[in-house]
């Protein structure tokens, strides 16, 4: 699926966005278990909660046909992406695993790029 950190060519689908968030979720989960300080775990836990909620919403709403769900989700995506910008800046200090850090930074770039195409209000 979307494990190559490459934004799909053309117009990405809602499922592409779901895959990108899921990939980020997997890596954040790895980072959570790797983090050694309680502060780092707290912050990562907060991000994981936000992304889990988004993936649930993506499954519940068909973006193309439901205006109300679309608007609500657009707001949620925008807010999560803002948090992700913060995460990108902090991630080095939260975890020590170089590979995981690099992967999360790339995941965030990918999510933000796909979200901008799938949810134009973002």
């Amino acid at each position: 699926m979307g494990s190559q950190n490459v934004v799909p060519a053309g117009q990405p689908t809602v499922q592409d966005l779901n895959d990108a968030y899921s990939e980020l979720l997997n890596d954040l989960n790895d980072a959570y278990w790797a983090a050694s300080s309680m502060d780092a775990k707290d912050q990562l836990y907060g991000f994981i909660e936000a992304i889990t909620s988004l993936v649930t919403q993506l499954n519940a709403a068909d973006l193309t046909s439901r205006d109300a769900a679309y608007s609500a989700l657009a707001v949620q995506v925008a807010s999560a992406n803002k948090q992700l910008g913060v995460l990108q800046k902090q991630i080095n200090s939260l975890i020590n695993r170089i590979n995981t850090v690099a992967k999360i930074i790339a995941d965030v770039d990918k999510v933000v790029a796909i979200a901008a195409k799938v949810v134009p209000a973002v």
Binding site: S3, N26, N29, N59
Partner: protein, 322 residues
């Protein structure tokens, strides 16, 4: 010559009638078995949905307790994996399948046709009304557009079939007419349940109800872990100074692998729902074949019953994984 032609025509029509009677007879002998298998399957799928939802609800209460900060309205925790409306839509569609099977069975000569007809009309009306409701549109909207349109039409067709059901002697035609709708409903249920954990490197990737359940269980597992970490005694500190006694800590840690096991069992139950519903679609196709030819249905019903039994084992095992 005219007499011979007349005789030939009579013979031909007799042969056709015999073939039809044979065909109908064959279908009539297969239908009660199909109906029983379908009823058992639909009941087990309904029970599986309810059991997964209930088990998830119990796990969610743990999350509420361990992350309690006084800011979350407890009435929100009942939102669960499936809301009552979302669960009800699925249960009602399955009830429609059960009623369809009962009606088929009654047409082949069972007893209480009147009360079955009343039940059919009631379920039929519920189904046709259901297709116009927001929860149903959401249910069908979660699958790809072409499948969702077919699914809505299929549930509507099933409802109308149950309402308008009148004829005894058109059984093969009736089965044939309903086959596309039954297939669409089975496809809808399989798509609705979706997928997750197909790639070990990316376990969260997927879609549908399985992905939602998987991610939400993971979130509960992290909440439990946060609770343990936040309540462990710091160096030099001893319980009850806002930290766990060794026994309590051990008991809380033991909940982590139990939750993982519960997540996996719930996911397996949903996978088994997919396998069972797929087999139900196949069995109906075979019933249709039996309506057209004289094939024996036993093997396919055996497969359906086996999948249904397996589903029963899975969802019952969920109660034990607490």
């Amino acid at each position: 010559m005219a007499i011979r032609l007349g005789q030939s025509a009579l013979l031909l029509s007799l042969l056709v009638s015999l073939a039809l009677v044979g065909c109908i007879k064959q279908v009539r002998s297969s239908v009660p078995a199909f109906a029983q298998a379908t009823e058992l399957t639909s009941t087990n799928v309904q029970a599986a949905f309810m059991k997964v939802n209930q088990t998830y609800g119990d796990a969610q209460q743990i999350q509420y307790a361990v992350s309690y900060d006084g800011k979350v309205d407890p009435s929100r925790i009942s939102a669960g994996w499936l809301s009552p409306e979302a669960l009800n839509v699925r249960l009602l569609v399955l009830q429609g399948l059960k009623q369809y099977a009962s009606e088929l069975s009654s047409l082949t000569g069972s007893n209480d046709v009147d009360s079955l007809n009343k039940a059919s009309t009631a379920v039929g009306t519920s189904l046709t009304t259901l297709t116009k409701t927001a929860p149903f549109k959401k249910f069908t909207g979660d699958v790809p557009a072409n499948a969702s349109n077919q699914a809505a039409a299929a549930v509507d067709a099933l409802g109308n079939w149950l309402i308008e059901l009148k004829l005894k002697n058109r059984l093969p035609t009736l089965i044939e007419k309903m086959d596309p709708s039954i297939q669409s409903i089975c496809t809808l249920l399989v798509e609705d349940i979706g997928s997750v954990n197909t790639d070990p490197a990316q376990p969260s990737e997927g879609h549908g109800l399985r992905q939602v359940l998987w991610d939400q269980y993971n979130s509960i597992i992290l909440s439990q872990n946060q609770y343990i970490l936040k309540n462990q005694c710091k160096e030099g500190e001893r319980a009850p100074a806002n930290c766990f006694t060794p026994e309590t800590r051990l008991a809380e840690i033991e909940k982590l692998p139990a939750l993982v096991e519960q997540r996996n069992a719930a996911d397996q139950t949903l996978q088994q729902v997919q396998a069972t519903v797929t087999q139900l679609g196949r069995a109906h196709t075979e019933l249709l074949k039996a309506a057209r030819t004289k094939e024996n249905l036993t093997a396919d019903l055996g497969d359906l019953l086996a999948e249904s039994e397996r589903l029963n084992t899975y969802y019952n095992s969920l109660s034990k994984k607490k």
